[in-house]
Symmetry: none
Subunit: 85 residues, 4 copies
Amino acid sequence: MTDVGGIAAEQLRSFIERIERLEEEKKALQSDIKDIFAEAKGNGFDVKIMRQILKLRKMDQAEVDEQETLLDVYRQALGMLPPTE
Amino acid sequence: MTDVGGIAAEQLRSFIERIERLEEEKKALQSDIKDIFAEAKGNGFDVKIMRQILKLRKMDQAEVDEQETLLDVYRQALGMLPPTE
Amino acid sequence: MTDVGGIAAEQLRSFIERIERLEEEKKALQSDIKDIFAEAKGNGFDVKIMRQILKLRKMDQAEVDEQETLLDVYRQALGMLPPTE
Amino acid sequence: MTDVGGIAAEQLRSFIERIERLEEEKKALQSDIKDIFAEAKGNGFDVKIMRQILKLRKMDQAEVDEQETLLDVYRQALGMLPPTE
DNA sequence: AACGTTGAAATAGTTC
DNA sequence: GAACTATTTCAACGTT
């Protein structure tokens, strides 16, 4: 292992490059999403409305999840669940 | 106006200090909130549950707001509102 | 929490509402800060740099130095700096 | 959008779902990145500094220099630097 | 008391 | 250049 200034240089480089690759992939996906919006717009759909719909669907799901969490928290508070499962 | 390096130093200092004061006030409020949680806990309430309740109340409100925004967006898309009010 | 409809429920509501009020105030302060940045920008100042200034004024010098030293070590390990400057 | 129950609605649903799928994939990648940072940390690397490295590798040198120069001007204006170093 | 988790705040990039 | 979106960063919090 090559040590530069007390650092395992090769290992560091490997971590950095793996992250950069994944970030590239993320960027590509973002670009795909952009393309879909553009395609939808070309088909006469209103992108702004689509974004609102997506946001609402996300919020709805979050709300459901949150309700279930709250339920569990209450259950635990009332001793209806093992303390730490 | 005292110019240092081409910068209106007095004015800059004034902006910076005003912001720092407001941030102090924010910090104080945050501390107050913490105290209330502690007080509630001392009265037998479960802080975790309280946080869940606060989160849900916020989400509900956000959802209502979002619905109204969506409605407006639809209205505008359908020509029921002036384009840019 | 079991005394729904009685004292406990009232007390819980009170705690929740006090916290919500304080959070509203925090939001208002945040908005004031935003306004000051906007005003500064209107007077030709660079908001981003101002934020860095604020951050530096919060940090102690030892911290700043340590971070910069470590960053250089990593940069050298990755060949991002000339070998012996 | 007016053709509810017909082709348009189906098409809209398709666009929405494709986007949601891509966003899921993005989330998964983000999670992978998180894991790598955790692994690096477990190997003794400083995650915060790694982030700075990643940012520097993205920026061009001219940008970096310009920011630092401006920051010094502001610091001098506020007396945060010795008058003539 | 370090650790990871989460939520808020800031920055950067994109669109109009 | 103004507004919006998305990403990143930072700080608080509970957890172990």
